[in-house]
Amino acid sequence: MIGIARMLERGRSRRERVRGRLMAAGAALATFLLCAAANLTAFEIDEHHDYYSVFTDGMMRPGTMTALVLLTAPALAFVYQVSRLAAATRQRRLAALRLAGATPGETRLLGAYETGRSALLGALAGAAVYLPVNLAAQWIFNERVSPLPVPYVPGAGSSVPAVPLPLVAAAIVLVTAGGVLSGLAAGRHVVASPLEVVRRARLTRPRALDLLLVVAGAGLVFAGFNVVEMDPIWRSGVYVIGAGACVLVFGLVLATTWVIRAAARSAGRRAGSAETLLSARMVEADPRAWARALSVVGLTVFLGSAAGWAQTFVLFDVWSVSTFRMVIYVLVDLALLGAMVTSAAALVVHQAEELLDHRRSFASLAASGVPIASLGRVLTRQALIAALPVCLVAGAAGVAALSWISFSATPTTAWAYVYPFLRAAVVTALGVAAAVLVSRAARPVLRRAAAPGELRFE
């Protein structure tokens, strides 16, 4: 089997190579973040510092590590989207294999092999980039050759320890396994028969599992708060709450499938232009794929608007303003922005996959004189129709989730209450804007999908 996979690999097209590289890039990013988190476990200092507390403060580090681990989610989601796209385009090779006697399971293994291989290469690259970064940091901070304001660490030998290599290896294994799994999972959506490859009828309706995720997430959060009380030293409750919140929001976003469908349906009914009609119907036909593609964007919007409450009390003088807090907030926002960009990239891949399914009908529309620009608007409106409900739900949930903070403080000005809502609105708008903007990035794919060559039957 591996032999066959190798043989097929040599015959890969340029586009397939590009997809392999994209997968590797996602895996590299995920590994880099995991390595950074692993590095933090080796830190021993427990000092407050205005700029570096996220690393030096023993209380803060678990939070930082959680954030880094969470940031791998958009990267891995990106890998999964690309491997879905790859599964859809591996078609012809797989059909040939089935004709040659391979079982459906074997063709899926092939997908897992290809994705796993890209993920392994990416993971190795990510680790290879992290190690020199770690060495450089050690050199700069520990040898004090830099004019940077370095944390003063009395008594400690080094402020930046070496990253524990066993954990790096674990990260590589983890990311590679993630790649293999996503390759296997992506293969489920394509059925390769000897004669052709058909896309399996996809599940497009909300599932009970989504609600289960919501309930499980809420339960975890609740349990987490209790654990925090019981275990003040290791603060394991924080992790439980973090994980619970993620599961909760993921479930919520997946449950937005029906919101997306309702929005698309009403947009389709009222559509006056061909572009809106087409995009609304396309979203309506597959709201679940959009919900999935948008889930990480939704998560980011949720966290972004939830963070507004914490900020408001600092900004409006309830809690004391400190450099330390400002640094934290800026870091959180930067992380969220990064997550949004990465997850938006997964959206482009989703649209590319969709275009692949539509290349004949789009090519024939283009042939009959529909400008590519009009078809481009179809992509943009799809993103708008799908992203708007998801971001609204996530933004509103974010504001609502942390509103209990407002009961524990008595701000001096009413603006303190307005700010979180303003911020939630801005973050929601950013989420929608990101989705719409990246849909423009799918235009080169559109141009290729609508080329007359796609009208030739193979």
């Binding site: 559509a271 006056g272 232009s273 061909a274 572009e275 009609l277 087409l278 119907r281 396309m282 309506e284 036909a285 399914d357 539509h358 004949r360 009908s361 024939s364 529309l365 283009a366 042939a367 009959s368 004189g369 529909v370 400008p371 590519i372 009009s374 007359p452 009208l455 030739r456 039957f457």
Partner: protein
């Protein structure tokens, strides 16, 4: 009305058209036949302004369209041409009715008006019962008749059809060809049909036989 003069078109090393010259009159129904790979589809795409030949000229109404830019050629196609392909041209998520209304709506006609016109075309082609169905729920013959309706709905002056019955059995194919040629004759629409089926070619007034990218013979009724 539509003419190609000394047209050459190559895809890499493959010379699909080699100095080909044809002329098609207003309201004419022309069949383009020839063996597989003789350049029929390529000729159709060049005539329809979808592909640009390397040398030679394509004229529509005496105006050169091969030298026009992409946007201008798109406009020419939208205002004057309709296309029918072998299969898969309908948007799977739209109903048959919406598929037919789509070109009108892309031409900035109102939704209500477009749907009304589309419905009348479905009736004309005998598939009004399918109006609410998605392409996946149509038979091949019904889908092709919906595709014909979509090609004709904007009142084009030329309709280009590439193997319009290629995926159908002979009775369904006959139905599609009857409707396509019947409505084309009624509205004096020029029709260019690429086919390798003689029975389809027999619907045309004239046949252009291609061989190795040039015209082997032109047979007129």
């Amino acid at each position: 009305m539509l003419e190609a003069r000394g047209v050459h078109k190559a895809f890499g090393p493959t010379r699909a058209l080699r100095g080909l010259t044809v002329e098609i009159g207003e309201g004419e129904i022309v069949a383009v036949t020839g063996p597989s790979g003789s350049g029929k589809s390529t000729l159709l795409h060049c005539l329809a302004g979808i592909l640009r030949p390397e040398t030679g000229e394509i004229r529509f109404d005496g105006r050169r369209i091969d030298s026009l830019g992409d946007a201008a050629r798109t406009t020419v196609r939208r205002e004057n041409f309709g296309v029918v392909f072998q299969f898969g041209q309908l948007v799977p998520e739209l109903s048959a009715l919406e598929n037919v209304a789509l070109p009108l709506m892309f031409n900035r006609h109102g939704r209500e008006e477009s749907m009304l016109t589309a419905r009348s075309w479905l009736e004309r082609l005998g598939v009004e019962d399918c109006a609410g169905l998605r392409p996946g729920e149509l038979s091949g013959g019904q889908a092709q008749r919906v595709a014909v309706a979509r090609a004709l709905v904007t009142g084009p002056r030329v309709v280009f059809a590439d193997e319009p019955t290629g995926a159908l059995d002979s009775l369904a194919g006959e139905r599609v060809m009857d409707e396509l040629t019947g409505t084309a004759r009624e509205s004096r629409t020029t029709l260019v049909i690429v086919t390798h089926d003689n029975r389809v070619a027999a619907y045309a007034d004239r046949e252009i036989v291609l061989r190795d990218g040039t015209v082997a013979s032109a047979v007129t009724a």
